[in-house]
Subunit: 338 residues, 2 copies
Amino acid sequence: MGKRVGEQTVLIENHVGIASSFAVVGPKEGKGPLGQYFDQVLEDPLCGQSSFEMAEHVMFKRACEKCIEKAGLEKGRVQMMLGGDLLNQIMAASLSARDLAIPFLGLYGACSTMTESLLVGAMLCDGGYADPVLCAAGSHFCTAERQYRFPLEYGCQRTPSAQWTVTGAGAHLLMRDGGEVRITMGTCGRVIDFGISDANNMGAAMAPAAADTVWHHLRDTGRSIRDYDQFITGDLGAVGSRLLYDLLGEKGVPLSGEKHTDCGLMVFDKDQDVHAGGSGCGCAATVLSAYVLPKMCTGEWRRVAFMATGALLSTTTSQQGESIPGVAHLVVLERERT
Amino acid sequence: MGKRVGEQTVLIENHVGIASSFAVVGPKEGKGPLGQYFDQVLEDPLCGQSSFEMAEHVMFKRACEKCIEKAGLEKGRVQMMLGGDLLNQIMAASLSARDLAIPFLGLYGACSTMTESLLVGAMLCDGGYADPVLCAAGSHFCTAERQYRFPLEYGCQRTPSAQWTVTGAGAHLLMRDGGEVRITMGTCGRVIDFGISDANNMGAAMAPAAADTVWHHLRDTGRSIRDYDQFITGDLGAVGSRLLYDLLGEKGVPLSGEKHTDCGLMVFDKDQDVHAGGSGCGCAATVLSAYVLPKMCTGEWRRVAFMATGALLSTTTSQQGESIPGVAHLVVLERERT
């Protein structure tokens, strides 16, 4: 069949390209180093709604609508929508799918959702099951804080390893024979648990999964770090990125800051008081649109391994003392030499 | 390409069969009319664990492990696992995927998750991206009650339209050229919202989505109700099933009890005090294994439209007064004449 290589990697043999992308972010993200590159920066994190959850939904929907519009399509042309978010029962994605009336497959991979959706979307598009496919993910600082941690009003002191959930949503439209940047491969991650139970150290919980996926990807494909212009992780942050280098180093894979960047480290400035960096489904989703794809379109990067990482916890499992497993899905983005 | 027909339906052209299935249920389900047909009935709804959430996880994992074992495979042979549950952040599925170490794509479609996973799994298997693929879903009465409604200890009086979440997990292994019963088509549902906001009337919230998916399926394929031996819904219950007939009737599609059964109506006896019937991801997942597939294997049914239905709500959206949209995904199960 030739659609698989090794244990976890699939080949996307047809041209499945990212035909359009759209990123909406909150005011804090707009003030960060990538501020000018996002398609839309909200002035109001409530987005004119009466709750942060509804603001997250409106932001998610806007990213989807504008992404389809940017591709010059009517939304009725989009054959499938794949996505998710961090809200319990992925309500931002579900309500957006309702409003858009596109056949919808809801995904949950915590902060790995953006690449989970690109990976599944690429397979469905490549296989001829849907074209175009809309892939989206989002998160909101204010909903994530109160759902996973503390009420905002509590003004809780954050630990040095804590990350700041990105308020943002990104949507990407996959299309056969469309877009300059193609998805050429994907590696579906396993759920890895190193026993981390500190809900304020997501980087440490996700790094083992990221290392596992990179390692399997390289083993499956017979490639090395040198075969990529860049490895880009979703939201390992400062702590998780260092752990990723250590874990891969132990397996003889020399990844370092020279060939690696993390969306969570790019999205905020150090003086924005975000501690170990940005996080959330919206982090990888918006940085892909604002930073990664533009750098590929200018030819600076030709081949990128893009991998969002998720920490699989709920408040219930945390309160019950369970550890926090992680998962990471990788897609290979390539721009052909022109 | 020939992999799609109409607006929402995909064709599974290769033989993608259900090579093995396994269902674990709780004691109450074991006392119901299908009790003797489940593979395993728990004596203890806590499953020897210290919390109901961990019991749900153990039950989910057991269904997966035993399903793989029943197919005579080692778990390392399974190339992908797709699944989800009703716990916040689908923790039962995520922790099971960790324990099984199979590359994992987490899904969330509320009680539609079983057919969401069979639909995606069938496309990935048909397309050559993964084979075999493990598809699973589960739910637990005690975790769903306390997460979505009231603490169990509160002893809340239930409304006549309320349904009883099935304690159970079902796993199904899809394999190329394996199994007598094949998935030959799938219709990916849209998220439909008729403005129902009563969290104790899930049947009414889901029926419009079920009607929409059936209607699109028939329009996409040019088929009629007569072309199927049975339409089987996941957990519309008594209220939702009547609404489904009404909604389809308005569109000129004559579905009735003669050609329709609902897993939620089959899984419990009337005297088990479950009001409008069973519900939960585990309802469709376990009844498929215990009742639907055996009836197809004996030749009583040759072609079945199997459609789990989900109500997309969270406690937060409910408390904020949002309505409850529904979604339903349909797979066509066929057994060739021998």
